[in-house]
Assembly symmetry: C2
Homo-oligomer: 549 residues x 2
Amino acid sequence: MLYSIVKSNTYQDSLRLMQLSNTLNGTDGVNRVSIMMGTSANKKILRNAGLDTPDLDGAEPTDLVIAADVADASVGDSLLAKVDEFLCYRASMSGRSGLRSVRSLERAAGILGRVDLAIVSIPGQYVTPEVHRLLDRKIHTVIFSDNVSVSDEVELKRKAREGGLLVMGPDCGTGRIGGLPLGFANVVRDGSIGLVGASGTGLQEVMVHIDRLGSGVSHAIGLGGRDLSAEVGGTMCLQALRALDADAATDVVVLISKPPAASVRDEVIGVAGELSKPVVANLLGERAGGVEGNVHYARTLEETARVAVELAGMRAFRMVALGPEQRRIKALYTGGTLAAEAAMLLEDLIGPTTSTDPGHEVIDLGDDKYTCGRLHPMIDPSLRAERIAAVFDDPENAVLLLDVVLGHGANSNPAGPLAAAIVDGLAKLHADGRDLAVVASVCGTERDPQSVSAQTLILEQAGVAVLPSNAAAVRHAVAILQRRDARTVSPASPEPIRRLLSEPLRIINIGLREFAEPLLHLGAQVVHYDWRPVAGGDRKLQALIDALK
Amino acid sequence: MLYSIVKSNTYQDSLRLMQLSNTLNGTDGVNRVSIMMGTSANKKILRNAGLDTPDLDGAEPTDLVIAADVADASVGDSLLAKVDEFLCYRASMSGRSGLRSVRSLERAAGILGRVDLAIVSIPGQYVTPEVHRLLDRKIHTVIFSDNVSVSDEVELKRKAREGGLLVMGPDCGTGRIGGLPLGFANVVRDGSIGLVGASGTGLQEVMVHIDRLGSGVSHAIGLGGRDLSAEVGGTMCLQALRALDADAATDVVVLISKPPAASVRDEVIGVAGELSKPVVANLLGERAGGVEGNVHYARTLEETARVAVELAGMRAFRMVALGPEQRRIKALYTGGTLAAEAAMLLEDLIGPTTSTDPGHEVIDLGDDKYTCGRLHPMIDPSLRAERIAAVFDDPENAVLLLDVVLGHGANSNPAGPLAAAIVDGLAKLHADGRDLAVVASVCGTERDPQSVSAQTLILEQAGVAVLPSNAAAVRHAVAILQRRDARTVSPASPEPIRRLLSEPLRIINIGLREFAEPLLHLGAQVVHYDWRPVAGGDRKLQALIDALK
């Protein structure tokens, strides 16, 4: 038999109600049960599910509806008792975790003093006026709720942009600001990679892989899936990119989005290309890879993480101050195939030589024309060590790129003579107030007779940036030139966003209590605003109240 | 002043002599010194270096020449004394390491009984007749020496192919057979990845990265840089590819080469495509990536290693016996962007749907049309668990592909209900004598509330292949279909090569002693053949002796 009860003005959030429905479904005598707020959408769902009773028609959006298919009326009554018990229990649990819970935005703001961020997870139809009130108070907002119209999103984001604020969402699944997880968020390491994403699980997958590769995240700014649509125009994406460029904790910026509208894509990539920091862009499926200026494209989410981690690692190396005339990469290799790979990658990354380009050079010192009458340079490092002095002397050289090959048969300490020549060369340059970047990779394992870590240390102590592969070393050499050419001044970012990303946050949580708990455990200042629809859910009356304020 | 001495019939290998020259250069009173065998090439080098004395003219290839620029004659005499001392010391050291050293091939072969492999590192001009003698005795050969003519290489490799033998080189820098390093070789883990390479440091870089990624090498067969030229025609490359396909220790085959001749490329890729095992091909710079049947292309050497390690990992999963009608990948996702990435990669890897293809399907269960009136499947896993039964019922389904998203906000045990549904589904299929592959990735970290390792274990115990990323899971799903379609019979490989790759090796080392030492330390049976030119270096006389045998 069908059984239904409507409890008027008993607002509960939908997550809690669905958990309750799942718990009660299939218990003794209960064939099916749905517990929902009496919105028109929910009433339609109940009718489609064959749970329509005449009671339903009169239910208001702020009424709690229990609709069930049960064995008999007594089962229905026990169901109602269980629902009441659950709601009472939840109510009595509130406050136990130490989370302060209040019934108005004003009260929450009063407790916190300054409010930086609000997390909004109330039903979609109530979101827009609440977020307008937050933006009026200069509060950045994360909107997890969906079912907000595009026109409302456009309006809210326009307002946010004018106020120098961020609106993340609607339908923003995940985020992380200053180490605090927002919504559905994996627990990852703090680090120097900042992410912007119009994609929830895309951000999650990239953050997880950054963490697995031993690196970490500064911020992850979710935008909601429609931010890069033609209607919304990437408003918040552009704010977020500029903000991460200006943010001191961020070294590398990641941008993830499903394919954006063409017009928006051009503007977003245009701004990404103007940033002072490297950007890794994954516009799902849009292009395979490659580099344009400071923007590195990746095709898969794991590749996005890998490229970002590699770029973040590069930022940790000694900064080299290059003069404007220093434009050449000079590579002195001992391995023929490593040299061939370097030449191939240089062409991939830099393209054909231009008039301002003095011609990068990859020399394979293992080639017959260099070894005639001498040992192969993998056995005898003296040939290369001798040639290094000339590299430091040439004022057009910017980067000296090297391979070091270990293993049986190779020299027992190839890094030694190299390091000595590099220390000499750098000392002379530094005495002249000049500099040169030295980049290398070591092809070897820990169990090789020379030990890759021991050889790496010798090079690092000589001032060499040692990358984990030949390909990474070549990319780093190119990145050094690109960084020299990059603007050093970041585009301006509004002061409220700068503060959001750099100062301890005071947060109001509006909607699902669950989102406040992890923040509280991490020591953030959070107040829960136990929101429920005002004025019996009458949006017109609410609009009138807003207008009168 | 110039000083020179010619010691007739005193052969020493060039590595040792160059080490000696390097040691003595720059010692008291010595401005410059070169110690070389009196070949015409070396005499030219000495003349170009300004070390030409009348003595030089009469020196024979088997004579030792000491040429120096010294302060006075007494320095020259002390130099000669040092050279004699060095040569005597080396002679007295021979035998100390436990390496047996003999003066003829016959004697070496007599000691070992059966001989599998010879390592040849004598001067290039003497190589060809020695290798002919080895091939006549059915001995596989690694030739480290360079300066062997292309026509000799063609002839030697033709003879080897006819005898079912491998000739690796000339100019083969590195190799590894059955765990034994050959020549310039890094110390890497044993494993299931077999490599074939016409590139020395290319092989080394890929092996090093395979090792760093925690995987290992079965064999690495060097070919010499000219094997894939039009003249040589990839003779040995084709032998090596087929041999690794037939080799029980090898699961994945890697092919590395500088860009081959076009005609050779087509034949080599044709054979690679016929193998029963996956192949990772890096034809330096030739193409960016992608998959054709079982052949995966990689652009950089580190990417080559990464793809090979991923494919080797996949071979470790439960083998699934698919029927011919099972052709569909059915993906049930909870993450929208993960689903979008899966769809994109399926199209990348499989291409447009064909008539024999029932249409792969990626369903995003987080889409509104599935969640209407239900919780998001990242919170409530029951929706997906319910739909899994139908996937097992459809006889056209080959692979069930899944994502599992962890973190704050997500279900506290998403793998649990999934695993239960999969165990049920597999049990019913197995009872019918059928099967289905289940492939997943877990988006999460160890510090997530659910713990990625705990969730992975639950899935693995249910029979799921858990890959380290969504992209890897998609590639694995495609690989399962490709493996089902792959021929199960490997192309035939000659019996002598099968034995070379699978049985303990007995090795003759001809030339540089250094190459024998690591083999001896690893417990291999090695005899050193202390080669020197016969008949005063007269190649015509040697040819006559060979002809008379």
